[in-house]
C-alpha cells in the first residue's frame, strides 16, 4: 500500500489553516502506521503541510483501536481504520479526552456539510 486511503485524504483536504487551532492552545497532527518513507512522498503529492507522523515502530494505532495487530494485505488499506483522538496535556501527564470514528468525522466541517446545503444533497443514492 503506497497511498493513504481516499476517504481519509478527502477529510485531510478539508482541514483548515492550523493557526486558528494553535491560537486556542491546540495542536493538530496526523498519525499513520506506514513508515515515514511512504508518508513523505504522499504528503508532497497531496500538497499538505499538516504535521504527519509515523507510528510504524509503536502500537499507538493498535492501542487506540484503529489498526489490526498485524497488517491484513487482503483488506482495504491493509485493514487500517480511521478515527480522531483528542488528548489533554497537564504538565507531564497526558489524558485521553475524546475519540470518534465512522460518521462521527462527517460533522467535523467538510464536503459533507457543504453538500448538505445544496439542492441535490450528497448524491449517494
Amino acid at each position: 500500500m503506497n497511498e493513504g486511503c481516499d476517504g481519509c485524504s478527502m477529510v485531510v483536504d478539508n482541514i483548515g489553516h492550523l493557526a486558528h487551532l494553535h491560537a486556542r492552545d491546540t495542536s493538530f497532527a496526523l498519525v499513520s502506521r506506514a513508515p515515514s518513507a511512504k508518508i513523505e512522498p504522499f504528503k508532497e503529492r497531496m500538497g499538505w503541510t499538516i504535521p504527519w507522523y509515523s507510528s510504524f515502530a509503536s502500537d499507538f494505532n493498535v492501542g487506540f483501536g484503529v489498526s489490526p495487530e498485524s497488517p491484513r494485505p487482503t483488506e482495504h488499506q491493509d485493514g487500517e481504520m480511521f478515527g480522531l483522538s483528542v488528548f489533554l496535556r497537564d504538565g507531564d501527564s497526558i489524558f485521553r479526552a475524546y475519540f470518534t470514528n465512522g460518521r462521527g468525522v462527517e460533522a467535523l466541517g467538510s464536503n459533507w456539510t457543504f453538500l448538505d446545503l445544496t439542492p441535490l444533497g450528497r448524491q449517494e443514492d
Partner: protein
C-alpha cells in the same frame, strides 16, 4: 485541571458510549434536516447580476461554470475596506481543499464580495488562497440574498431572517453607511434558468468548517474569549514556546 474530571479508562469508556448515542441522534437529525433543505421551493432569479472574475465579466448562470449547482460564500469585504473580515477569512481558510471534491459532485463554489476585483486578488495572494473569488461591485447581489422583503430592503435591516439578535445590524449597500454581511447561498441551474434554493447566515455557517468543530471535540471547547480570536491567520502573535 479539576481532580474530579480525571477518571479510569473504564469510566471514560462508559461515559463515551453514552455520549455516542447522543451524537448518533444528532447525525440522524442532521440527515433529516438536509432532506428538508432539499424540499425548499426553488425561486427563479430574474435579476441580471454581473460579476467581475479573473477570466471576464460573468452572469450568475456563468458562475456555475458548466455545473448544475452553485454555492456562493458572501464574504465581507466592502469597496472601502483595506482587508476582508477576519471571521470570513477564518471561514475561507478551510475551503481550498474542499473545492475539487465539491466540483465532482456537480457543485461550483465561489466567494463573492463587493470590493473591486483587484482588492480581492491582492488579499487572496496575501492569504495564500486558491478558491474562485468574484466581485459583485456595483450590484445589489449581496443584499438581495440577505434581505427578502420590501421593508427589509428599504431599511437595510433584517439580517438572518430578521433575527431579533441582529435587529441593530444595518446592511450595506441597502443602508448606505451600513456593514457588510456574511452568508452562504445555494443556487441551481436548470434549462438555462437560475434558481435560488437556500441561504444561511450568522451561526448558520458554524457547521461548515473544521476549526469550530474540532474545538468542540477538545476538553476546553471553543474558549470564552473572542476578543482576539479568530484573527486573520497571519495576524496571530507568535505561539508561546
Amino acid at each position: 485541571m479539576p481532580e474530579s474530571k480525571v477518571g479510569t479508562r473504564d469510566e471514560w469508556l462508559a461515559a463515551r458510549v453514552e455520549l455516542l448515542e447522543r451524537e448518533k441522534e444528532l447525525t440522524r437529525r442532521s440527515d433529516e434536516l438536509a432532506r428538508k433543505r432539499r424540499e425548499l421551493p426553488w425561486v427563479q432569479v430574474e435579476e441580471e447580476y454581473r460579476f467581475d472574475t479573473d477570466e471576464s465579466t460573468k452572469t450568475l448562470a456563468e458562475l456555475f461554470d458548466g455545473r448544475s449547482q452553485l454555492l456562493v460564500f458572501h464574504l465581507m469585504f466592502g469597496p472601502d475596506d483595506a482587508a476582508a473580515c477576519p471571521g470570513c477569512s477564518f471561514m475561507a481558510d478551510h475551503v481550498d481543499g474542499a473545492v475539487v471534491h465539491l466540483n465532482h459532485r456537480e457543485v461550483t463554489f465561489v466567494a463573492a464580495s463587493r470590493a473591486p476585483l483587484e482588492k480581492l486578488d491582492a488579499y487572496k495572494r496575501r492569504m495564500g488562497w486558491s478558491l474562485p473569488w468574484v466581485s459583485s461591485f456595483g450590484s445589489d447581489f449581496n443584499t438581495d440574498f440577505a434581505l427578502f422583503t420590501d421593508e427589509q430592503r428599504r431599511t437595510g435591516t433584517g439580517y438572518n431572517f430578521a433575527s431579533p439578535r441582529r435587529a441593530d445590524l444595518r446592511i450595506a449597500p441597502a443602508a448606505p453607511d451600513g456593514e457588510e454581511l456574511h452568508g452562504l447561498s445555494a443556487f441551481a441551474l436548470e434549462d438555462g434558468v437560475v434558481y435560488h434554493t437556500y441561504s444561511c447566515y450568522d451561526r448558520g455557517t458554524d457547521v461548515l468548517h473544521g476549526t469550530w468543530q474540532l474545538l468542540d471535540r477538545t476538553p476546553k471547547g471553543r474558549g470564552g474569549d473572542f476578543e482576539g480570536w479568530p484573527r486573520r491567520h497571519d495576524e496571530y502573535e507568535q505561539r508561546r514556546a
